[in-house]
């Protein structure tokens, strides 16, 4: 889906935990997430730390949206 959106000129950051799949299928801007059942969370953390973690990942996604790239890039 990410690459389809990109083909319409909409830069898209794909946040996912299993990066190899995103790479195989062909998303261009990839942001690693935490785990499959909670990509943007971590039930083991206290709430405020979890939100900080989530914000951090989303900020990386925004960075990916602002960055011009020539090929598939993982934004660690």
């Amino acid at each position: 889906m990410a690459k389809t959106l990109e083909s319409f000129g909409i830069p898209t950051a794909h946040i996912c935990s299993i990066v190899p799949i995103s790479q195989a299928v062909g998303a261009n801007r990839i942001v690693p997430a935490v785990a499959i059942p909670y990509p943007l969370g971590n039930p083991e953390l206290p709430e405020d730390e979890e939100i900080k973690l989530r914000k951090g990942i989303v900020e990386k996604a925004l960075k990916a949206l602002e960055t011009d790239i020539a090929e598939q890039t993982v934004f660690e």
């Binding site: 690459k3 083909s7 319409f8 830069p11 898209t12 946040i15 989303v58």
Partner: protein, 347 residues
């Protein structure tokens, strides 16, 4: 007796060589060239009542006009089937054979057949839509191909069930179907391993699929003033799943309001994705669709604004073709509403 119309180029249609490649479409009675050989093999089963001949260059340079004339000829002949070629590896000829057969099939709904070398551009373009018998690279293979082609013509005319490419000789159409086997999967696996370890030939049952690539879209120039939208394949939907999005192989996507909502809570939202442990997303849906984080960033001015709707579907075993369809519709909706960039979350 069943009627067949045969499409040939200027060479096989016995008009002449390359110097006649500009020949406009003409109709002749009865079979010509390879058609005569096919007729011989067909016997009383069917009759090639007419042959349409068109120069390869004329077709390539005037496709619209050529097709208009050719389709009219076919319509007037009202055959039970149309065949073309064999075209072997001749590129212009192969494209013409494929184009004619495909159009006839779509417009008249009758069976069609051509025969091409696998790497002929006409084969690559049309093998998913029409039956194409596999041929060797050039006309030296004519004697081998014609009986295979003729047999297939008979089966198509009789409406018989067509078997698999390796049995029937046609190019794979890209459709995978389930079949029953004598050995179970485990036995097939051990046998395959034994062959592989001994260096004997084996055939994989599942060739690795190929995914296309798309050039990256240009980056957002002014993020602080941009409108960003959230999309998820993690199945986060309003409680009660109002659009009944399936827990696997979703047949649709939903667009949901988030105006005035600062964070997703388990009483108003749920996950319907059947492929991951739902407990954590149920406790806090922001773990899959990070609305609260985006709202914070919106307030801080990191982005212009968050689009007041989000898009959701379920990625669990959802076919790639369908996912593409949904994304195309979502993209159009985004463009209509001034969305400049997207964040897609998956599990």
């Amino acid at each position: 007796m069943k009627k067949i119309v045969h499409y040939l180029n200027q060479f096989y249609g016995q008009i002449g060589g390359e110097e006649f490649a500009g020949q406009t479409p003409i109709l002749k009675e009865g079979p010509i060239g390879p058609g005569a050989a096919i007729q011989g093999l067909l016997g009383e089963e069917a009759e090639i009542t007419a042959t349409i001949i068109c120069g390869d260059n004329y077709f390539a340079d005037n496709q619209k006009e050529a097709m208009a004339v050719i389709m009219k000829m076919v319509e007037e002949q009202a055959p039970d089937m149309v065949i073309a070629g064999p075209g072997f590896n001749a590129g212009r000829y192969g494209l013409a054979c494929g184009t004619v057969c495909d159009a006839v099939k779509k417009q008249f709904g009758i069976p069609v057949l051509t025969a091409l070398y696998p790497e002929n551009p006409g084969a690559e373009m049309f093998q998913h839509d029409i039956y194409i018998i596999e041929t060797p690279i050039n006309a030296a293979g004519m004697r081998k191909v014609l009986p295979v082609m003729t047999k297939f013509i008979g089966r198509l005319l009789n409406g018989e069930e067509i078997g698999f490419p390796e049995e029937e000789g046609y190019l794979p159409q890209g459709i995978r179907v389930n079949v029953h086997t004598v050995e179970n999967g485990a036995e097939r696996g051990v046998n395959m391993l034994m062959k592989k370890m001994k260096g004997e030939p084996y055939t994989t049952e599942l060739p690795m699929p190929v995914f296309d690539r798309v050039p990256p879209a240009p980056a957002v120039k002014d993020l602080k003033n941009a409108t960003i939208a959230l999309v998820t394949s993690g199945g986060i939907v309003p409680k009660g799943n109002p659009d009944h999005i399936e827990s696997a192989n979703a047949s649709k996507f939903g667009i949901y309001e988030i105006t005035g909502i600062d964070n997703l809570t388990g009483d108003l939202f749920m996950t319907v994705h059947g492929g991951y442990d739902p407990v954590y997303a149920t406790e806090d849906p922001d773990r899959v669709l990070p609305l609260d984080a985006l709202r914070q960033l919106e307030r801080e001015g990191a982005i212009g604004k968050l689009y007041n709707k989000y898009y959701a579907t379920v990625g669990n075993t959802t076919a790639v073709k369908n996912a593409k369809k949904y994304a195309e519709a979502i993209a159009q909706d985004m463009l209509q509403h001034g969305v400049q960039a997207a964040i897609l979350t998956s599990n």
